[in-house]
Symmetry: C2
Subunit: 147 residues, 2 copies
Amino acid sequence: MRLTAKSEYGVLAVIDLACTYGSGPVSARQIAERRGIPPRFLEQLFVSLRRAGIVTAVRGARGGFTLTRPPAQITVLDVVEALEGPLQSSVCDQERESGCGKSASCAAAPVWARATHALRDVFAGTTLESLAGTQGTFDRRDSASII
Amino acid sequence: MRLTAKSEYGVLAVIDLACTYGSGPVSARQIAERRGIPPRFLEQLFVSLRRAGIVTAVRGARGGFTLTRPPAQITVLDVVEALEGPLQSSVCDQERESGCGKSASCAAAPVWARATHALRDVFAGTTLESLAGTQGTFDRRDSASII
DNA sequence: CCAATCATTACCGAAACGGTAGGGATTGAA
DNA sequence: TTCAATCCCTACCGTTTCGGTAATGATTGG
C-alpha cells in the first residue's frame, strides 16, 4: 500500500515500451532520456521487471528491452508488484488484540482490506495498452504521417 | 497514498471512542492499554485528531477524549487525513515531460488518479459507526447483559 | 577490437517512521 | 490546599526506507 518513485518511473518506462511494441528493443538510456528518469536508477528497475517476466533484455550493442507480452496483456498491477512487492495493506496485516471486548481481530481490518482490494482492482484493470493508447502509439503516429 | 502506523492506531482509537460514545470522556491511557498502542505515541495522535476537530479533549483528572460528532458522521477519511495529511497520489503529482511525443502530461497519470479516487471512496464511505458496529457497542453489550 | 548495452553489487545522504523523554498546564477529588 | 491524573507541547533519537550514484563485469553488434 505504498507507492514510490519506483512505480512512477517503472510504469512510465513500460508505457514507453508499449508505445514501441513490435519495433525491437529499446535501450534503458533512451527511455531515461525521453521520460526524464535517472538512467542508473531506471537500470535497476529493469532488473526487477526482467526477473518478474515483464520485459526481456537484449544485451550488447543495439540491445535494450522489450515487453514479453502484448501491452494489452500486461497490467499496472503486474508492474507495481514487480517493483514494490506484493500489494497488501501496510497496516493491520497481523492479528491484533481487540477492543470493545467482542472480537479477537482488529476492528479496523475491514476498511484496510477494502482499501487494498479497491487499489488492486484499479491496477489490475488498467493495461499498458489503455495507458499507451491515450497518447497514441508510435506506430499509429507513423501511419498518420503517411497521409 | 501512504498509510502508516498513525492511521492504524488512530482509527483503532476513534473506533474505541465510537464504542463508548455517549458515556463521557475516555483517557488516552485507557485506550492505549485496551488496544495495545504505545501510550505516548497515541497522545501525539490525539493532538492531531483534536486539531482536526474530530475529538474534544477534557483536561485534568477524570479527563479524556470524546468524539465531536456521532460515529455515523465521522468517516475513516476524516481520521486518515487528520493523521497523514491530504490523501493524494504520492506519484506523478507534478506535470512531467512526456514521452511518445504526443502529450505534455504524464502518461501514467490516469491510473494514479483512479487509484487515489478509489481509495478515497472506500475511506469516505466507511464511518466509525459501521466499524464499531461490527463488534457491537459497549452500550449494546450492556443492554444485552440486562437480559 | 571496441563501443554500447545490460548485470550485479556496494555504497551513501536525506528523509520518514516509530516511537521516547521531559517538562508544563489544567482539573477533579481527597 | 494539595495531589494525582490527565492533556499539551516541543524536542530528540535510533532505524529503516527512499532515491539515487558508483564501480565493475559480462555480452554483443559493428
